[in-house]
Amino acid sequence: MPRLLALVAIIFAYAVTTPLQAQTESVTPLQDALQTVQPDVANPSRATVPAVLRVLLQADAPGTVDFLRAWGDREVYERPGDGLFFYATDAPDRMLSLIDIDTGETVTEVSTREVNQIRPNAGVRREIGAALVSFELLHPNPDRRLAALDNIARSPDADQIEALTAARAAEDDSRIAARMDRLLDLLNARFATDTAVRVDAIDGLRGDISTEARRVLNQILQTRAEFAPEIPEGTNVARIREPGADMELTAAYGTLSDAGLAPARPGRNTIRDALRTNVVDGTVGGIPVHQLTTDEMRRAAYAALQAEGIVAPLVTEADMRAAVAEVVFFDAYLEPDPAVTTAARDALDSTRTKISLWQFVSISLDALSLASIFFLAAIGLAITFGVMRVINMAHGEFIMMGAYTGYVVQTVIPNYTTSLIVALPLAFAVTFVAGVAMERLVIRHLYTRPLETLLATFGISIALQQLAKNIFGTQARPLTAPDWLAGAIQVNDVVSVASIRVAIFFMALMFLLMLLYILNRTRLGLEVRAVTQNPGMAASMGINPDRINMLTFGLGSGIAGVAGVSIGLVAQVTSEMGANYIVQSFMTVVVGGVGSVFGTLAGATLIGFLQKGIEWFNPANTLAAQTFMVLFIILFIQFRPKGIVALKGRAAGD
């Protein structure tokens, strides 16, 4: 059966991966090739199969693999008159439709008597099966050889070892040879008959972190729970279980009674049901029914029934212990050879350390990606908060606005790459304008009342959220990344990073550098820093704080828009997406320290790594990770109320 599966897999892969080949000079290349060895095909024997294969390999005709499969499955017919070969399907009136093996067209209908069905015996069929593998493994096209190797890896089988070894000897492409070596190790580790070869192969898998290697090792180490009066000779014992210590006593007894080696133990339910069926005149075993509200009374009643011999006896704990002491419970490896299992265990242990190391790398990359998203979402907030001491609760809605801008652009421009290139600056522009408008209309009038800015911007936030819902609906809208960002960068079987996350990381990096440049190297940056430190003094130096505030707010909002496009690429675009990020963004800002680009960077990194770190301990529960992270932040604020990077001077405020 596995052999058949392998065949099917290979043929399937062949059908998928082989492009249509151009017709050569002959219209029927396969038929022609077969005719050169006509007798060997029509009456195959184990000795003649290789000759046929050689011919087919040389001809390299399309449909060869299909033919081999059909040949092995007794689906090829020979027409005695001209010796040509056909496939056939059933036709009415016990007729067969003959199908040309090259073109796949129905040629004619004949009665079953007019053609000979070719019936290779079991030995020949095995030969053909192996041949199918080697046929692909020896194929001149390296891609075909790799595909065949993948198929073997997918459905490994003992019979493939021989073909693979032969192919390995003939292989001259070093990349494919390495892959073959590893596959050989995998196959030998599982199927080789000689212990030394297997142990050797298993040692070759030491430190191999790929899933297929680990799967093979784990398969070798599969165990089965067993029990026996004494451990039988030649059993490869994984561990012995002590009932009561590393195995529940009731469970151990349960296995015994299931096997019929001990009387079943009446559980609470059994006792109850037994009492229920034996109620006589309102009493059971002499005890009135209404008194049976505790387990003790029930057991007493049951004991009375037992004395009458009506029910199966109770099994006490002592009984269970005695019964269990008669036998040994143990886990036995399915693999009988201890040398093999020891080697596999060693190999797996050595792999495990390496895997945890790689997992650490993987978590760190995840955390870095999360940190860059937090950074993008929070940096705009940090700027406005730092410069203007204004909490912008609508920041999340600016993120959402940016994401929806990206979505709208995508519906207008179908090319994902172009639309992304258009969407990024457009989102910046849209949210920049929205931010400036909000600053001029609302925030400007509330500078002396910071807590009320918080509330007013919250009012804007709910209005914007509902507006988005009215316009775009409650359904999540997709923002599709272009193809070149869609895949993942696969480092090995443990570590892989989605390309889009890498892109977001670089985008965050770019924004970091750009902001640093603007703040430290431009006139605007100088003025912003001056206003941050002392608005009054800055004003008296000829800087217009209103203008700076407006531009800062616009800049912060614009970055939120760009962040929205990037977040939209990894998450769904909904009217609530901003609200999901706002609290995290605030915490990033507060933890990092208000008004500092590096502070926000530190805050985002800390929160990103913290969240992923907590998730590592409990990977199934993202909610728990978030809960603990928020708790950590609350505690963190206790010890550094001004954040990681605290501003000095007037900006440090109260």
Partner: protein
């Protein structure tokens, strides 16, 4: 029953310069609350002529609970200057505490009833296992979590209504005020607390049924035969009493010397500290007492709502609370009541489909879609142009009088 409150408090009014003399709004409020309670009772289905549906009685009772938490919020924000964005967490905790008893006790009655029909009576263990399976089957568990150990005891859960929000506020407030977290930072910190709590409750394995929340709370164990029309009026009375008592308590708290100190803290914390007052202690007291009152309000609210789930505790709810108080007018207790009642009733009227949609010809305004936009913009307008909120109108009226 609720009419007793104005009567009993009317006695000290005779003395000159008394508490009520200083705070005429208390008498007005008590009077109006009493009249309102009587009016609703007379119009209700359970006790009167049935002009007000049971559902509406519940909505009104719930609104009274919201008014109660709004005055708590007003004390902590409007008087003490702490913009807490976490008081709805205390409200929710109170609701959960009472909800546990309601759910457990009712399920236990149902289970005992069904098990008792068998030929032999159930054991205690069987009952509690069946109850646990019934309650927690929805989150794929059948064991009673540790925090439900005393869920069958009403006095214990009632104590929890007060103790859980109170202790949380005490610990959180102590940590926050001790390290001098103030202003916007404190707001964000309280918001983080709410977020953490709601995220925690959203988990299935924390023993409070995850996002399913607790349900069936409108059925009161021991009164299962009482129709909802009567129960709703009982709860309405209870809510009115709680609101009246809460109003009195807070009016008293903010009126004396204590009130002056917390207002001073709001206006300039540093100066009060320099005068030798223990600012942190005052703030902690206000924060904790308002949290306790919020918990009580929640415990009265959710039996009327019938269901509680973690979404109720989400940060947004607490921000809405601030919105009500701001619209009603901060720094005056009746302002908070007006804001909460006005906004929440208007909200349920407009989103409940009660309001007629407006056809503009080119566009049809559906209130369910536009209510939040209206609220948001209205709120911005109130913050910008009427910082005193609706309550400011009363200032105007009072000043007009000779």
């Amino acid at each position: 029953m609720s009419l007793d409150i104005p009567r009993s408090t009317a006695a000290p009014a005779a003395k000159p310069r008394s508490f009520l003399h200083e705070n005429p709004s208390v008498l007005w409020f008590m009077g109006l609350l009493g009249v309102f309670t009587v009016a609703v009772t007379v119009l209700s289905e359970g006790f009167g002529i049935g002009m007000i549906s049971t559902n509406l009685v519940k909505v009104l009772g719930m609104t009274l609970c919201l008014c109660l938490i709004a005055i708590a919020m007003d004390v902590v924000w409007g008087y003490c200057g702490i913009l807490s964005l976490g008081h709805f967490a205390f409200f929710g905790l109170g609701g959960y505490a009472i909800g546990m008893w309601l759910m457990y006790a009712r399920t236990e009655i149902v289970i005992r009833d069904s098990l008792g029909r068998g030929t032999i009576p159930p054991t205690e263990l069987e009952v509690s296992e069946a109850v646990a399976a019934q309650i927690f089957g929805v989150v794929g568990s059948s064991e009673l979590p540790l925090i439900w150990t005393f869920a069958g005891s009403l006095p214990f859960q009632l104590a929890m209504v007060v103790l859980v929000p109170g202790l949380l506020a005490l610990v959180f407030g102590w940590l926050a005020f001790r390290s001098r977290v103030t202003g916007v930072y404190l707001s964000i910190l309280t918001q983080a607390m709410t977020l953490a709590l709601s995220l925690y409750l959203f988990q299935n394995d924390t023993g409070l049924r995850g996002n399913n929340g607790l349900s069936g709370l409108q059925n009161i164990p021991g009164f299962l035969h009482v129709p909802q029309s009567v129960l709703s009026v009982w709860f309405f009375w209870a809510s009115a009493c709680a609101l009246g008592a809460g109003y009195l308590l807070f009016a008293w708290v903010v009126s004396g010397k204590f009130g002056s100190v917390i207002r001073a803290i709001r206006d300039n914390e540093a100066r009060v500290r320099f005068l030798g007052y223990n600012v942190e202690g005052y703030k902690l007291f206000v924060f904790t007492i308002t949290a306790v009152i919020s918990g009580i309000a929640g415990a009265l609210y959710y039996p009327q709502a019938g269901i509680i789930n973690p979404a109720e505790i989400a940060p947004i709810a607490s921000i809405y609370l601030a919105v009500w108080v701001a619209i009603g007018g901060r720094g005056r207790l009746y302002g908070a009541v007006i804001g909460a009642a006005f906004v929440s009733l208007l909200s349920s009227w407009l989103t409940g489909g009660g309001a007629p949609n407006i056809d503009l010809g080119f566009y049809r305004i559906v209130w369910t879609d536009w209510w939040l936009v209206l609220l948001g913009l209205g709120f911005v307008a109130v913050t910008l142009f009427f910082p005193k909120g609706i309550g400011g109108v009363f200032d105007y009226l009072v000043r007009k009088k000779p």
